[in-house]
């Protein structure tokens, strides 16, 4: 199923899709040749009208089954839908673009400046959050780009539906949105799409990002929204309430988000303090687990086997506290690593003077750090973490989202734009 010229077309046979892909470049050039381009106002207007139709329940029949499958509450869905409202989108543009939304002042030598779209974006969407691929396209539209979307494998069709409805709200968008369902293995076809684009926007892990780099030549920019690691940094001053807050966050996100806590660094040289902190956190984790209800049995089973196997392998320097499907692994090294996920947290020592040495190694993979310490320790530790490469210093609720927040330390709308200077 593809979206071309605002129409949903069923292309069972791949060669039919190929035909559309072959004509894509000429169509994009045609669009660029037109004197008038779409405006941000048109995009926001279309999104807002669609948002109101969604909120009025027009698509409920379509949305309900998807929510059930993804285990998302209707309330949570309405919160997510709000991201498409005029108010939210305008706020997002103001925060991300700042002065770039206004006509820019000339440089002092008299050269004029303006903000332009990159041109054509290829979005390689990932994952199974329905609607995220469409949201990536809308970000591209807000910056004025023509958008080609490659759907993730096993897409439910929700993104195509959403974007086709958007075109119905604003027919001018038809030639700014193209959706294809090319499998990731069809590299020749993907390369064709990448050749059309000025930039490739890729979502996913290192593997997906590397694949995208291989698809493109030097002339094409790659904008990667890769997978990230997050953790907590605590000192002896951390309170049980704070540890409980962190444990809640671990249980609520099951550690699967980029901003989810994988482990806890304790700012000390003493193995005893690390062990005590691990024990304290374990108590809070059990409490939070009981309050949140247990995780998926399959994941618990997988982790029980892994922990049992760890015991058989009798790895040196590791103590495992393990009960009721949650665990804390107290380790003697300081390596940043992903946890077993689904409520299994590592605890390691990392004295403040080693923060930069240890974490800098993971430069591109760092995202959030919950810093739980005494007020007077905070400024210094935060500064070290920022220098090491972290982009968010948070409280115990590491994944709390604020409207207008940056994405991995960057503003997508700026990434999708360029500054053009014109002399007299």
């Amino acid at each position: 199923m593809i979206l071309f010229n605002g129409e949903i077309i069923n292309t069972k046979a791949i060669n039919l899709e190929e035909k559309y892909i072959d004509s894509l470049y000429d169509r994009c050039v045609e669009t660029l040749n037109q004197p008038v381009q779409i405006t941000r106002g048109q995009v926001i207007g279309a999104c807002d009208r669609l948002y109101h139709r969604v909120m009025a329940g027009e698509f409920n029949e379509y949305i309900w089954p998807l929510l059930t499958v993804a285990d998302i509450s209707y309330e949570r869905f309405r919160e997510m839908a709000e991201l498409f409202s005029r108010e939210e989108l305008e706020y997002k543009c103001r925060v991300e673009l700042g002065e770039w939304t206004e006509p820019l002042a000339d440089l002092k030598c008299g050269i004029s400046r303006r903000v332009c779209p990159l041109g054509i974006l290829l979005h390689i969407a990932a994952g199974n959050v329905d609607g995220l691929p469409a949201y990536s396209v809308i970000e591209g539209l807000l910056a004025g780009n023509i958008n080609i979307l490659k759907l993730p494998a096993g897409d439910s069709g929700f993104s195509v539906k959403l974007l086709s409805e958007l075109v119905k709200e604003e027919p001018a968008l038809a030639e700014y949105i193209y959706v294809f369902d090319v499998p990731s293995t069809e590299t020749a076809t993907l390369r064709k799409l990448a050749e059309v684009a000025d930039a490739v926007v890729v979502w996913g892990g290192d593997e997906a990002v590397n694949a995208a780099r291989h698809l493109t030549d030097e002339k094409t920019k790659v904008i990667a929204w890769g997978h990230k690691l997050s953790f907590a940094y605590v000192t002896e001053a951390v309170t049980d309430e704070e540890l409980y807050g962190l444990a809640r966050h671990v249980c609520e996100t099951n550690q699967v988000l980029c901003s989810s806590c994988q482990g806890i660094y304790v700012g000390t040289r003493s193995p005893e303090v690390v062990a005590q902190t691990g024990q304290r956190f374990f108590e809070q984790l059990k409490k939070a687990n009981a309050a949140c209800g247990k995780a998926d049995p399959g994941m618990r089973g997988r982790n029980s086997i892994r922990i049992y196997n760890d015991l058989l392998e009798a790895e040196e320097g590791q103590t495992i506290l393990n009960d009721e499907g949650v665990s804390v692994h107290i380790k003697s090294d300081s390596r940043l690593e992903i946890s077993y996920l689904f409520r299994n947290v590592w605890v390691k020592g990392l004295p403040s003077e080693n923060i930069i040495t240890e974490l800098k190694k993971h430069k591109g993979h760092l995202q959030s750090c919950a810093l739980l310490c005494a007020e007077e320790e905070r400024p210094l530790l935060a500064e070290l973490l920022v220098k090491a490469g972290l982009v968010r210093i948070t409280g115990a609720d590491m994944s709390a989202s604020e409207s207008g927040g940056a994405h991995d330390g960057m503003y997508p709308l700026r990434e999708y734009s360029r500054i053009v200077e014109t002399g007299q």
């Binding site: 069972k12 993804a70 285990d71 998302i72 949570r76 997510m80 990932a126 994952g127 199974n128 959050v129 995220l132 949201y135 096993g154 979502w203 996913g204 892990g205 929204w225 997978h227 990230k228 609520e252 996100t253 099951n254 699967v256 988000l257 980029c258 901003s259 989810s260 998926d296 049995p297 399959g298 994941m299 618990r300 089973g301 997988r302 982790n303 029980s304 086997i305 892994r306 049992y308 196997n309 015991l311 058989l312 392998e313 009798a314 009721e324 499907g325 992903i338 996920l341 689904f342 995202q367 968010r392 609720d397 994944s399 709390a400 989202s401 604020e402 927040g405 940056a406 994405h407 991995d408």
Partner: protein, 373 residues
């Protein structure tokens, strides 16, 4: 090895109650052998303060420390010098690492007796020459996968007129070629020689679905059979219900579900489970199954889902007498209605196979196994 041999010679391959005592004895015998000949296994048992002689009665089987298949992926355990190992088999390595299990002559001989006994019981042998369509790997000396070996073995159930493979060996390695098999189905349908398919259910399903979409319908000659084995592997998300699969096979190949048979086995547990006419995997005498709680790893009552722990004393070259699989399953004790009154194992799927992708900033999206932003 007397009890182990005795068990492999049991007349009725499904006489579970009649062999319980023999099974425990054979397990104790095997356990003692492994304990004496495999240092790593002895270390593991010692760490649990468990001794082979602690296996006295049936309930003691659950107390025997099991070894996860994961452990075999990190360590090669052998209880015999390399010279005695006749053949090796590797798991498919769906999750990245492979386990390597070696079999000695006596173990292979016991396995062969088991396959023959079960094959006769389930009427899998035939003198009629047969064409084989294998949804699996073409054998090649570089391929040590247990799956490849067992699917080749299955082409010996009836004399082979031809063998065609979904994964053909080429200069650049294995290539999936379902198109070729599609034309073979069409070609063989017009003949009179029965056709047997063997192998991965996912590939079988993909081809049948493709044939359906393209409007290709054939009626395979009488005596044809579909056999499935090897699990859905990385195509877990595509898995269809058995009923849907049977309906598709009937529609596209003209084979009813009475002529569809499924196998279950594992490199780390080389016991053959063959489904009954109600498509249930009854546990044969060569094995016992314990389902364990996902959190505590303690045994759970029949009918309760949990982790699948498989036991067999049939192999002496490696300590695989009690292994923990990566599968979730249920052991059913209620009558199945096929005539066999012994318990049957239902595999629910792999543990933790959900798409775990951690991603992106911000949002407190609580998307189970999904991506947030």
């Amino acid at each position: 090895m007397s009890y182990m041999n005795k068990l492999s010679s049991a007349k009725n391959p499904y006489d579970i109650p009649g062999t319980d005592e023999l099974f425990v004895r054979a397990m104790r015998e095997n356990c003692q052998y492994q304990y004496d000949h495999c240092a790593d296994y002895r270390r593991i048992l010692d760490s649990f303060s468990f001794r082979p002689e602690d296996l006295k009665e049936y309930d003691d089987l659950a107390k025997l420390p099991f070894i996860p298949t994961l452990y075999f992926k990190h360590h090669s355990l052998f209880s015999m010098p390399p010279g005695k190992i006749l053949t090796k088999a590797t798991s498919s390595g769906t999750s990245g690492n492979k386990s390597i299990i070696g079999y000695n002559f006596l173990s292979l001989f016991r396995d062969l007796k088991m396959v023959l006994r079960l094959g006769f019981y389930h009427h899998l042998f035939s003198w009629r020459p047969t064409r084989y369509i294998v949804f699996g790997y073409e054998p090649h000396r570089s391929n040590q996968m247990g799956m490849t070996k067992t699917s080749y073995g299955q082409t010996l159930f009836a004399p082979a007129v031809s063998r065609d493979y979904a994964l053909r060996y080429t200069k650049e390695g294995y290539k999936l070629d379902l198109e070729n098999l599609k034309s073979k189905f069409v070609e063989f349908a017009s003949g009179r020689i029965p056709v047997r398919t063997i192998g991965f259910p996912a590939y079988t399903y993909f081809l049948l679905r493709q044939m359906k979409e393209e409007g290709i319908r054939v009626k395979l000659p009488e005596g044809s059979m579909i056999s499935l084995g090897g699990g859905w592997k990385q195509f877990y998300a595509e898995q269809v219900s058995k009923e849907d699969f049977y309906a598709l096979a009937e529609e596209v190949l003209g084979i009813d579900d009475k002529h569809i048979v499924e196998f279950f086995s594992a490199v780390e547990h080389p016991v053959l489970y063959i489904d009954c006419r109600h498509h249930h995997f009854h546990v044969p005498v060569y094995a016992r199954v314990i389902i364990r709680d996902v959190d505590t790893l303690e045994p759970v009552p029949p009918g309760t889902p949990g982790l699948v722990n498989l036991l067999t004393p049939m192999i002496d070259s490696v300590p695989i007498l009690s292994i923990m699989t990566d599968d979730l399953g249920i052991l059913h004790e209620e009558s199945c209605g096929c005539g066999l009154d012994t318990p049957w194992l239902e595999i629910l799927g792999r543990v933790g196979i959900k798409d775990i992708v951690t991603c992106a900033a911000g949002a407190s999206e609580m998307l189970k196994g999904g991506e947030g932003r």
